[in-house]
Amino acid sequence: MTLDAITLRDVSKFYGEVLGVNRITLDLKPGLTGLVGPNGSGKSTLMHLLTGLLRPTRGEISVLGVNPGDPERLFRIVGYCTQYDSFPSGATGLSFLRHALALHGVPAGEADRRCFELLQQVGLADAARRRIAGYSKGMRQRIKLAHALSHAPRVLVLDEPLNGLDPMGRAEMIRLFKELAAEGRFVIVSSHILHEVDAICDAVVMVHGGSVVAEGQIRAVRGEITSQPIQVLVRCDRPRAIAAAALALDHVVEAKLLDDGASVLVRTRDADAFYASLTGIVIASGTAVESVLPADESVDAVYGYLIGQPGVPT
């Protein structure tokens, strides 16, 4: 088992006869990894397995060389923000974090200092002494995040961490995740909102029906789906000229003029060849191009192609 990766080998989890996840093999590297899939696809089961809250029915898991069945060692390096929106009754933000740090063996004085740093970091310093039961959904999400971050873990597992946050809160959290990933930590974020993952993750693991259907960098995954032509959106002043020239290329299967009158959507089996030809087309037709963008290299589109339901992945 490697000491600098999170590995799962042929991992399955059954709840009685109900399948949780099935024969999953993964190697996760440092950085921001998105775990995506609809509700019930097995994301939370996978996260519970990684953190020892569930034990695999079959297979082996190693988190930086540590078995998740060894909590004493595991939670020195792992912090987990679960999906559960529940807290010990009567706890305040401060007492909740204090107790977490006490379980890490942090002396009281140092724990208090660290608590206020954490509360500051997640924007809850003013609500430190208020009961968590009176917090808004977004505040509860933040205090869970502070709990997961309390011991500065190398591996951060976050189950739907942006749920309930307002747009400003989301932006702050995403910036924090990116900072943590840039420090070389493993940040694993699950979400069923695929465009959210698109915006923040370096790599994705796509889960459907308890199985991993794809993993890696989203562009590379998209490139491997050869059954679906790649879509390229060209915004320019003469879309008709671009469409006509594109249709003459043998790898282009469709060129569709969009209603705005200033865009053409090209579907091609060979994106690289199209990009190479586009320069010549633009020069020859004297077109002024505003932008050329891949239209279906999003997690949303790729997930839809993989599970056979383009356009309705969530």
Partner: protein, 273 residues
């Protein structure tokens, strides 16, 4: 084992125990326990008010009455259910409020978690049950006025009180370990608690080999004044007090080992609970 690790375990166990103690004593969980201990206290208070004048002169009568009440009601019902409420909720309460995972997401050996929860619950049970037992004892002697107080403070009275408190303390240890384990295994630990209560009540009728599996059999052997059981007395043979004490502690240790084994296999599947 290194001393640093031992120190960390102690610190962690105490953190869990303190948390459990606060949850047990300063939350709604304490209400049924207080209602339970209010029963013998009320009984003793009413008895103090309405004891016939003739019986107020006979201290021996109160000593026997307390022994009877303690053995048949306080120990078998009040202490039993108070322990059931406090200890069964150590794990089950957190499972029901869906907050157990916070304890499981700490760098904590599950044995330390069980030890901490047990100690916290035990202190909570002692904090309520020991003073309640002592006050009930005093209230039973109250109708005798100064003579009653002298009796409580005398060597005999004090040794009786100490013995009753020791029995309650030991009962909390043993029942506590049992109910902590029940809370780990059963969604509703009150069902096995009621079954075990039936077993404890039926103890006098059980053959000697089965009596050995009852806590109350050992606890009764430690009572300073044996209760009057009438014809049932023929069926009971007290155990040597040392054997009873060590037997209860050994049973407690065995139950806690089972609890640690179960806790090590514990998974978080709140939906199933």
């Amino acid at each position: 084992m290194s001393s640093a690790r031992w120190l960390l375990w102690r610190r962690q166990a105490w953190a869990v125990a303190r948390h459990e103690l606060v949850r047990s004593v300063f939350s709604g969980r304490i209400v049924p326990v207080l209602l339970l201990v209010a029963m013998p206290l009320s009984l003793a208070g009413l008895r103090a008010l309405f004891l016939p004048a003739g019986q107020r002169l006979d201290l021996g009568h109160s000593t026997a009455d307390f022994a009877q009440m303690f053995a048949l009601f306080h120990l078998r019902f009040v202490v039993f259910f108070a322990c059931a409420v406090i200890f069964a909720k150590a794990f089950r309460g957190e499972i029901l409020e869906r907050s157990l995972h916070y304890s499981l997401l700490a760098p904590l050996d599950r044995a330390v978690l069980v030890a901490g929860k047990y100690v916290g619950s035990l202190i909570a049970a002692w904090l309520v049950l020991l003073p309640a037992t002592a006050i009930t004892f005093v209230l039973f002697h109250l109708p005798h006025g100064a003579a009653g107080f002298r009796q409580v403070l005398s060597a005999t009275g004090a040794s009786h009180l100490a013995a009753y408190l020791a029995v309650v303390a030991l009962a909390c240890c043993a029942y506590g370990a049992l109910f902590l384990l029940a809370g780990l295994y059963f969604s509703n630990p009150m069902v096995p608690a009621l079954l075990f209560l039936g077993w404890e009540v039926a103890t006098p009728f059980l053959p000697p080999a089965l009596k050995a599996l009852s806590f109350v059999h050992y606890l009764s052997s430690l009572l300073p004044v044996p209760p009057s059981l009438g014809p049932l007395a023929l069926l009971t043979r007290p155990v040597d007090p040392w054997l009873a004490g060590f037997g209860l502690l050994a049973a407690t240790a065995a139950l806690l080992v089972l609890a640690v084994r179960k806790a090590r296999r514990l998974e978080v599947t709140y939906a199933a609970d």
